[in-house]
Amino acid sequence: MSKAPAAKKRSRSGSTKKTKSSESDLFAFADAGVNQKMTVEEKLSCFTEMVRIRKFEQAALQAYQKGRMGGFLHLYIGQEATAIGTISVTGENDHIITAYRDHGHALAVGMNMNECMAELYGKYTGCSKGKGGSMHFFAPDKRFWGGHGIVGGQTPLGLGLAYALKYKGIEGCCLCYLGDGAVNQGPFHESLNIAGLWDVPIIYVIENNGYSMGTSQKRSSAHPDEGLAARAEGYKIDWDRINGSNLYEVRAKTAAAVARAHKESRPTVLEVMTYRYYGHSIADANHHRYRTKEEIRHYQETKDPINVWKNILIEEGHLTEEKAKEIDAEAKAEAKESIRFAEESPFPPAFELLTDVYHSVDNPGTHTNEGKIFFNDRLPFETR
């Protein structure tokens, strides 16, 4: 196949201009409006929040390996700047929805470690009463709509959240996250078409960690040279590509997309180039087969988003190594406490199997409903 012709300069997006690179200049996006306005507290908070995600997941990993929880555990470690950077530029009318690698987003929107850890343990004190598990965290009061297990299945849901905002005349948007493996699912393309067609204020954030489970991007996706987000051009949607190691860049480019959604009610596709240090899930014991230890080490040593941000803050004079260690120790203690909380919490009582299935059952008298709705001849537990 011949080499594709050089990409034309695009007017709608800055992604192909390559005027700035945070890969060679850590401060390339420091002068973006949204970053200039950042207070020292906000900068430190972003650092603390990223560290909290990492410590939470490291604690969860240990508990998982001790057999304290079931199912899958998809770790976000290595990708922290994406959730923290993007969510830190959202406002009170902006909504969040993501896929199954959802712990980072959950903590980023303000869910606490205890409810999240307890959910991993399947405990009654979990954010979903132990009914959802690792892949299904929710906090509608924080405008966080999950936590979705089926690859790409959340992409039309995010579209609907954004559609509802527009329908109600609210100046807001929805940030809908997906992995690089989800870009080949049909519903994502259906959603892009509708978003482009109807001017829906949605921002699709492709968190490209290079692997859709064990299959590298190269082996799974046909796409233009500029990357996966460039597929958006087929739907006349603006797009951009982001260095996911640099929080300034994540924030600057997300803020531009949020402004586009708020002011023009137009969608954006963002592709964040990032990396996960662990397997697809912890059950993915083969992750050293499809990539080398050197590749992982290279990212950890040169592109780790927490280290990069720490170096930026040290250089700016807002942080010291000692202070960073303190923050690290505090997050570690908080995560340890969440383990204790989860360990000591009760499992849900068996009658909870049959609650939260139907709104009409949980709220008698609010519907014109009659009849039998659950069909077990006999239940293996006492009913309330």
């Binding site: 039309p156 849901l157 609907g160 329908y167 259906e190 299935v357 709104h359 009409s360 519907h367 009659e370």
Partner: protein, 329 residues
């Protein structure tokens, strides 16, 4: 009471609910400017405008998922399937997301969503367009499914479905759209979801049916009365999930015989569940085995005269009742 068609009854329900609640909107293929592939939404776009009646591209997964997402923020989308057979391309959205989200969030959210459209065979459109998936939908805890047979039930159930706070599937029938019937005039005419209706009282045998099979059963009942002096009771389920177990059991305890009729395929069809319920709760009242009539167990055939044979009609129902009562035809 006005006499209107099944189609008009649904249209009236949609119009009244659009008028009543600004969070209600209709979305689907050809529902707006084209006036609906089966004219159920005819005139609604002109009356309510672009925001409330929305033509969607042919993207069922996209716009069903959109409807679920929008319902989380309090909108009440009414999504039209041009044929219910098309829901299969959106299966993950329609059953997995719609049924699980409330549960997986521990009750933090709910999806007030209606998915409606025709689900029937008998129109010579071949196997891919002739599905009756009410049994499949009913298999998902979290979803509700209703199947109105008459104009009044179509209107009353549609209005209840739109006001419901759970996802409700309303399965209509292109064969019934032109049928006329009496419909109460009052605006607040609601048929409760989960309430069966005894469409004909009788003492000799209970026919339990839903959808078009109710009408075929009623025809058979008239013939059985006229020609054989047999009094058949016809119970219209109307709602599949929730299911009105009490009305079913009461009828069987009265007549001591049950014939279950549906256009579903037999294996794990709705009547497999009804049959289980009857033997479980009324075993000692039965004077003979429960009989079932379903669609002939093959994909829907195209050939028009043969497709007629594939679905249970009044003649087949009549013969089955005579056999059950050991009466010579």
């Amino acid at each position: 009471m006005a006499i209107i068609t099944y189609r008009q009854a649904i249209k009236d329900a949609l119009a009244e609910e659009l008028e009543r609640d600004e969070n209600v909107f209709i979305m689907g293929e050809e529902v707006a400017e084209y006036n609906g592939a089966y004219k159920v939404t005819e005139g609604l776009w002109k009356r309510f405008g672009d925001k409330r009646v929305v033509d969607a591209p042919i993207s069922e997964a996209g716009f069903i998922g959109l409807g679920i997402g929008a319902s989380l923020l309090g909108l009440r989308p009414v999504i039209e399937m041009m044929f219910f057979s098309f829901v299969y391309v959106a299966w993950d959205q329609a059953v997995n997301n719609a049924s699980s989200m409330r549960y997986m969030s521990g009750g933090l959210m709910n999806c007030p969503l209606v998915i409606r459209g025709p689900a029937n065979g008998g129109t010579n459109v071949g196997a891919t367009h002739s599905h009756t998936p009410e049994n499949l939908i009913a298999n998902f805890p979290g979803l509700k499914v209703v199947v109105p047979a008459t104009p009044a039930d179509a209107k009353g159930l549609m209005k209840s479905a739109i006001r419901d706070n759970d996802p409700v599937y309303v399965m209509e029938s292109t064969v019934l759209y032109g049928n006329e019937g009496e419909v109460p005039d009052e605006e607040e005419f609601l048929v409760p979801i989960g309430k069966a209706d005894v469409k004909r009282e009788g003492s000799d045998l209970s026919i339990i049916a839903h959808g078009r099979s109710v009408l075929e059963s009623l025809k058979a009942a008239e013939k059985l009365k006229k020609d054989y002096n047999i009094d058949v009771e016809v119970v219209d389920l109307r709602s599949i999930r929730p299911l009105d177990e009490e009305t079913i059991i009461k009828s069987v305890k009265k007549t001591n015989r049950a014939l279950l009729v549906e256009e579903n395929k037999p294996f794990c069809g709705v009547d497999a569940q009804v049959s289980h319920l009857i033997q479980r709760r009324a075993f000692d009242y039965l004077d003979g085995p429960i009989h079932r009539l379903s669609a002939v167990d093959a994909p829907a055939i195209y050939s028009p005269p043969i497709e007629k044979i594939q679905l249970p009609d009044a003649d087949v129902i009549t013969r089955e009742v005579l056999e059950m009562l050991q009466v010579k035809a």
